[in-house]
Assembly symmetry: C3
Homo-oligomer: 140 residues x 3
């Protein structure tokens, strides 16, 4: 049993942009020379999330519409009214509801994803930002 | 320390059906002969989720009502309009918001669930489907 | 590789109260004498959640407003109408949508959180309750 830590940096644009990282995570897991275990993909930010989706243009567009309805941008969020210059109160709320990480089992060095499952980062912020992720693999 | 992988198949009906898998997961953990660790229960699909609830008929009914309000079925989801024959745009959105997995600690071969916590699968799709789950245990 | 199990008890007040547990989790991870791994912070209740937020008063207030809009208290939730004396149907729905746990990678004995990420418990129930959490560390 051992632990392998990898990092991934992304340039994201915000506004519910979605970036597919499945291939990069799979390469990290394959390169770690672990047989079976779990990988936790954790984003080190409060206004972006990691999630698993069927990655096609309709789902990407619907995800943005869903969030604009559920937690709309609003100058009246107290994160914005209490903190001068802040406009991303809705981005924080979306980020903590969607969550910062996913944990995926692997075996024979391959992620045990279903046919349609893809790992993506979604950025809820209001401007472009650099994003850092930890990919922590534990297994034997 | 070692990793044990188990699989579970379910016949689900969709439409926010809930199936309780607590006893089956507990038996897998008990049978793995691991003392303490964590178990990740991961569903290999994008329109169904694993979650922890108090499993009583009121909560099951309320879960369906909540999702029908938050993310309603709608022919106008772009997943439906862009992909001929698709009607489950809302099922995808619900699935990725609720998430594909839960991770639960165990000790002395038993899940460390609280008194009222039950592990369930919820199927958000629009028709009956076979569902496959990975139950990945890591511990010593 | 080894597993370390710690427990944490909190007195919570309900009504979307938020309690920051970052420092206590960090001390448990630091005291476990593990180099690298993951920690799962799991709450053993169905009407409270563990989540990661930027912890400032605006976000705390906005989180309560968001939940009151998305899943409002309502005597008509079936959890309330079917079970005499129950008034916390909305608390259950919020708890299972937000989820009972977070899993965080650590290295060199320190949580790999981003600058603004804090680990908090949010209590959705309608009265004060004692809450118990399991902090399960796996690493080498």
């Amino acid at each position: 049993m051992s632990v392998k830590t990898a990092r991934l940096q992304l340039d994201m644009k915000g506004d519910t942009q979605i970036e597919n990282i499945t291939k990069r995570v799979q390469e990290m897991v394959g390169g770690a020379r672990l047989h079976a275990g779990i990988v936790t993909i954790f984003i080190r930010h409060t206004t972006a999330s990691v999630m698993i989706i069927e990655d096609e243009p309709g789902i990407r567009a619907d995800t943005k519409v869903m969030w604009d309805r559920l937690v709309p941008p609003d100058p009246q969020w107290q994160h914005n009214t209490r903190n001068a210059g802040e406009t991303n109160g809705h981005s924080h709320l979306r980020g903590h509801l969607q969550g910062p990480s996913v944990t995926i089992p692997f075996a024979d060095g391959a992620l045990l994803l279903g046919t349609w499952q893809q790992v993506v980062v979604v950025d809820f912020d209001t401007c472009a930002r650099k994003r850092e992720l930890i990919i922590q693999m534990i297994g034997d």
